[in-house]
Symmetry: C2
């Protein structure tokens, strides 16, 4: 191939740099008056925001797709977007029951159609009954339709072996991201050395770093242990906390379980240790549990922070503050486009909870279709319902295929020299470590790029495979990774993994 140095790569790289440094301000070219809003005058916190999952590499992927459509010749025929956990975009079919109920809710004339099962109709009627004007077109109350919140509470109670959940502690949201940002927003205060610090895992899902940058809070990194399958180690939490106390006031600890981008599933012991640590150090716990249905590895099991917390008894169960997040975008349903989710808060100060409700009310309400999808996720058809068998079959098929793809990914990557991949125990991503030759690192540095960004951009230009560089999630200095979803269809995934491995070998030879 030759190291990819074509105009495409250059354009991609220029995009990266322009977005980062903003040298391309058009201000001077637009007439006599300077704009009111320029890179120099705009919100500096927003400028610092980075979001790799949709960053320059994805913008370049979009351009490449356009070029392919226009007939430009490329060394590949399609761009494969393995950058984002978007199951249906990769061909996964929606769960039938879910879409039936949605159709009935948005167009109630269908309630008289013989083509819909009785339980879907019953469900749609009961949802509409709880909506203003019996329509999805009305606002709901800001925390979500009341019976849906109650169904969420029952779901949590079932999930957690009977430990009760209070609907008043549940707030529906516009995807999990919305709720995460809301809780972070409540936590941020102080200036300088008293500014709120928030502990987040490294590697992390970059919503966290982006939100903290926007809120001008202090990001406190704790490193997951790659050598031990991305385990979370309390000693490392303590190190991070103590160091951070020199320059900020750490007040919250975020945990992503199952891990994104790292795919580990935490043990019960680990969760207990984290809770004890948070309690002792007076940290508000944020548990990102959006992949709670995505656990594949034998011996791995999802334990919710809420359940472990409650089972630990007082003082943890009665005092430790916790917010747990869930979403309709992941799991077996993958309904990303509907933007549904919820947060459950535990042991939150009552007055703060009122403030949270007030804050959410400013945006009126989460989208009703997302609330409807959430309702089905937390309250699927029961064994006696006509839709039960099909629902279960569809659900199992998705989860079984994901499990097979998780295993395949680990296996193929680990056969490639210079790539090492931890087991994908859960979630939807592999985060393999790659070796990059010193000359590639040097070339990247000359271009002002992170070495793995250089690798991923070259991969995209050469193969059409779009993955996200590890530098977008954070990683130990001197190590390089990328995040790739396990979502491509089974037929596509194996050749994809092999193509990627071969590209890495070629890239390594090129720069050796």
């Amino acid at each position: 191939m030759g190291a990819p140095k074509g105009p495409g790569l250059l354009r991609g790289l220029l995009g990266v740099m322009a977005l980062r440094a903003g040298e391309h301000s058009q201000a001077a070219m637009n007439g006599p008056k300077e704009k009111v809003l320029t890179l120099d005058t705009m919100n500096p916190c927003v400028k610092r925001v980075e979001y790799a999952v949709r960053g320059p590499i994805v913008l370049r992927a979009l351009e490449l797709e356009q070029e392919l459509r226009q007939g430009v010749k490329k060394p590949f025929t399609e761009v494969i977007r393995a950058n984002i956990g978007d199951a249906q975009a990769m061909g996964q079919r929606p769960i039938t029951f879910l879409r039936q109920v949605l159709a009935l809710c948005v167009h109630p004339d269908l309630l008289s159609s013989p083509d819909f099962p009785e339980d879907a109709k019953r469900r749609a009627k009961s949802i509409l009954q709880a909506c203003g004007g019996h329509s999805l077109g009305a606002y709901s109350i800001s925390s979500g339709v009341q019976p849906i919140r109650e169904d969420v509470a029952r779901y949590i109670q079932r999930r957690d072996g009977g430990i009760p959940a209070d609907p008043n502690n549940i707030f529906l949201s516009t995807g999990a991201s919305d709720a995460i940002v809301t809780v972070l927003k409540l936590l941020v205060s102080g200036e300088g050395r008293t500014r709120t610090g928030v502990l987040i895992p490294i590697p992390q899902y970059p919503l966290y770093s982006a939100a903290l940058a926007e809120l001008a809070a202090v990001q406190v990194d704790y490193y997951l242990d790659e050598e031990r399958a991305w385990a979370l180690d309390v000693a490392e939490l303590r190190r991070a906390l103590l160091q951070a106390r020199d320059h900020c006031r750490p007040r919250a600890l975020c945990v992503i379980n199952p891990g994104n981008p790292t795919g580990q599933v935490q043990t019960r012991e680990c969760i207990e240790a984290v809770i004890r640590f948070a309690f002792e150090e007076r940290l508000f716990l944020m548990a990102d549990e959006v992949y709670q249905d995505n656990v594949y590895a034998e011996g791995s099991q999802f334990h919710s922070f809420k359940k472990v917390l409650m089972e630990m008894g007082p003082p943890y169960a009665t005092q430790q503050e916790l917010a747990s997040f869930h979403s309709v975008s992941k799991g077996y349903m993958g309904e990303c486009g509907f933007r549904g989710g919820y947060v459950e808060v535990v042991n939150m100060d009552a007055a703060v909870q009122q403030q949270m409700q007030k804050l959410m009310s400013v945006r009126l309400c989460p989208p009703l279709p997302g609330q409807v999808v959430l309702n089905m996720v937390v309250s699927p058809p029961a064994p006696s319902d006509p839709s039960f068998t099909q629902f279960q079959a569809e659900r199992q098929a998705v989860l079984a295929e994901l499990a097979a793809k998780a295993k395949l990914t680990e296996q193929v990557f680990n056969e490639a020299p210079g790539i090492r991949c931890n087991p994908v125990q859960g979630a939807m991503y592999s985060f393999p470590r790659i070796q990059l030759p010193p000359r590639a690192v040097q070339r990247a540095q000359e271009l002002g790029l992170a070495p793995d960004m250089f690798f991923c951009m070259s991969l995209l230009e050469e193969t059409g495979i779009c993955v996200v560089p590890g530098s977008g999630f954070g990683q130990r200095e001197g190590t390089y990774h990328f995040r790739m979803t396990i979502l491509p269809s089974m037929e596509k995934l194996r050749p994809l993994l092999e193509k990627l491995s071969q590209f890495h070998a070629k890239f390594t030879r090129e720069y050796s």
Copy 2:
């Protein structure tokens, strides 16, 4: 009746006070350790946020509904929520074509059903074609599905008599609120006397004050002229600006047209004057035009800021920065629950626009069903389409009824002594001025309440009518108002207006 002093009123009032001052913190009652997150430690900007449209009066309305359901005896049989512009909650029926296309999009099996018109099927197919995996369950790009953005651009061009709109300048959003907050977020910078100030009308829609409080930006009030039907006066803009320059750096000017809560529709001359002012004073213009389809008064006409700006020619057309907002929640469709909207930016610095795109990408994408609704709003059936006649008839029926209700509201209120109501030229609200007797004002002050909050809370307890006090929107010192929607059905509206007028008379007698 006796002045309403029952336990209900007291509970309502206590709610107001607790939410405002937060004296009811439970921290001390919850065991030995103080919570991490308390009213004292939480984000002080969030504490300052107020949002009257869903404030304590609405929480009390919810309680009252619950009490009615439980059989508690009240002087009324239902709570009438005239507090929020939520047409379908008040009984307005969804537009059929819109819901047909939505049903087809969420459940494509229906594409083979004979019960849907061909144009609805064609539309659904073309939308799905543009979605990832041909499904609403996939994320779209962050600025929205590309062909929908193109349809928005064509809509704007038609609306503005052929002045072109560029799809690249259009960003779909989660309702208009989301886009408004995003643009405000870009604008906020500086500290102390260099902190960004934003001019907003008084009375205003409280999203603005809430967002500015949350962003710690400086709210700069300019007063609309109640004596001249809430006209916007450039001399008043100038006064507000000059005064504000002492303590902040004013950088943006928000205009709501048609007005919320004030219902005025601005003349073309006024808009030109505002644009000249913004240009001379170097202010970024934000035009909240979500009621652009809601214009009722004879002689009133909606003029978009974009059109006026472009027709003014250079330097305005080529340099003045503008963001214009629209929504699917209002107009004739009232699809609030779907959370759809867009912003068009004009003359925005290219690098800033990239930053805006980046910022939006962190939240992934606006909900797809809301994008679909927006598509139909900007691209309704054409005269040759099978759904055209019904669509037009439904649209006209809604708008004609709103026009009649706007007129009726003005008329009935102006017949009542002590109530004076400007014409409801557009939007969905009346904002009548009420006289309150000095003893009522005094009693309110004793309770630590705004006098019109006291009036509205009493009204709610006595009649079940839920309206929002003028103090939640801002008003000239010493004047009192409330905002009431014109959305109740025609049969309900007249008795409602009369009941409210009678209550005001009674309240006035009570406290005289």
